[in-house]
């Protein structure tokens, strides 16, 4: 068998070599994708230390379960699913310890989004890409973890309603109402932030 050129090998080659128990190819995979995995953890948790801990835990879990990886999705997709599940477990535990957020109470109690006026102007008009990213980041931070997560999973990970429901241990109806609320709230927050900046 020819020697694997780790630096130039594809992800698939590195995965195959790692599945045979070699750690050097796995280290290369970690190095290539650690930013993406950390970024997903950070976007869900909004806390650097927790994101670092859980992203590293995801890499450990990835190694332990590597033999189960059938390569029907890309390695990064598979790793992203692992980190998402770890973050969701972590957030659920935290949620159980804390009292319900005001947003969740409002949403469960009949939907604050019904009282929000429909905004007739585009909240992101004439914004530079970087500025828009910053504004979205600020607005995302203001959402509860349930609303932020459904948005992230749907918009950035491209998950369907039923996949989100499975990951979040809730019904498709709950996913739909959370997504609706999250979008309307995000739109309103972006407009408020825009108005603040224009003042």
């Amino acid at each position: 068998m020819p020697r694997l050129d780790i630096k130039n090998a594809s992800d698939d080659e590195l995965v195959r070599a790692s599945q045979r128990g070699r750690t050097e190819p796995y280290e290369e995979l970690v190095f290539r994708h650690r930013d993406k995995i950390y970024a997903r953890a950070f976007s869900m948790l909004r806390n650097e230390d927790e994101a670092m801990d859980l992203s590293q835990e995801a890499w450990v879990k990835g190694w332990q379960r590597l033999k189960q990886f059938k390569r029907d999705a890309s390695f990064t997709t598979w790793m992203t699913r692992i980190v998402i599940n770890l973050c969701l477990d972590h957030l659920r535990k935290k949620q159980r310890q804390a009292t319900d957020s005001l947003e969740k109470i409002e949403e469960d109690g009949g939907g604050i989004e019904r009282r929000m006026e429909v905004e007739l102007f585009n909240p992101t008009e004439r914004m530079e890409r970087e500025e828009l990213r910053e504004q979205i980041d600020l607005a995302m931070e203001k959402l509860s973890y349930e609303h932020r997560t459904v948005l992230l999973l749907h918009e950035f990970e491209g998950l369907e309603y039923k996949e989100i429901a499975k990951a979040m241990h809730c019904s498709i109806g709950t996913v739909m109402s959370r997504l609706f609320y999250a979008r309307r709230r995000l739109g309103n927050l972006l407009i408020s932030l825009k108005k603040e900046r224009q003042r």
């Binding site: 970690v30 190095f31 429909v118 909240p123 918009e155 309603y161 739109g187």
Partner: protein
């Protein structure tokens, strides 16, 4: 579906509108919702707002990255992997012989010990204590403790002295070879024993 404002719009209609935007509706239902949105200004406005948020999110997330060096980051992961692999319980398969011993010898042995105990404790008259006097050769001897220094002294009395702390009287390491075994005059015995019992540093697997 009716021509009403968003505030009065049924929750089901709003969610259906959103599902239509997300491409989650079957074709026939998607066509029906599209017609409704087209005919209903409130639904159209809501669709525009939701679409604007969807488009805004297309710019992606703020880029964040791990600041630790590759080596440090990996060392944390690999040590965690090593720790968890080491922590897994080692299941030792018992051999059939060991299993047989556990099944039969242990209970039988235990039973035998109880029988012996009952036989000895339960019948004191059968084992009278024999008094002994000083000088009696039958008296039990107190076992004398045997210490390593005593052994070494007897083995090489001239070579061993207590270290005095300032280096005086301390014996060079080569003179106190506690690992050396008596060769009984056989020059072939000692090297082979040493070779077997003390693996060399160069080849620890020997």
């Amino acid at each position: 579906m009716s021509h009403i404002g968003i505030g009065a719009m049924e929750n089901e209609d709003r969610l259906k509108l959103q599902a239509w935007l997300d491409g989650e509706l079957p074709t026939h239902e998607a066509a029906r919702v599209a017609d409704w949105v087209e005919a209903n200004p409130s639904a159209r406005e809501l669709a525009e707002e939701l679409r604007a948020v969807k488009v805004a999110l297309k710019v992606g997330e703020m880029p964040v990255s791990v600041e630790d060096s590759r080596e440090f980051y990996w060392s944390q992961i690999s040590s965690q992997i090593d720790m968890e692999e080491g922590a897994e319980p080692v299941v030792v398969e018992a051999s059939p012989w060991m299993e047989w011993c556990r099944q039969w010898l242990v209970p039988v042995g235990g039973l035998a010990a109880i029988v012996v105990m009952i036989a000895t404790v339960g019948t004191p008259a059968s084992d009278p204590q024999i008094p002994y006097s000083e000088g009696d050769t039958a008296a039990p001897q107190e076992p004398k403790p045997t210490t390593a220094p005593a052994l070494m002294r007897s083995a090489s009395p001239a070579a061993f002295t207590e270290p005095n702390g300032n280096g005086e009287g301390e014996v060079p390491a080569k003179d106190v070879n506690v690992l050396s075994l008596p060769s009984d005059g056989n020059p072939n015995l000692q090297p082979s024993l040493n070779e077997r019992t003390i693996p060399s540093i160069e080849n620890p697997e020997r």
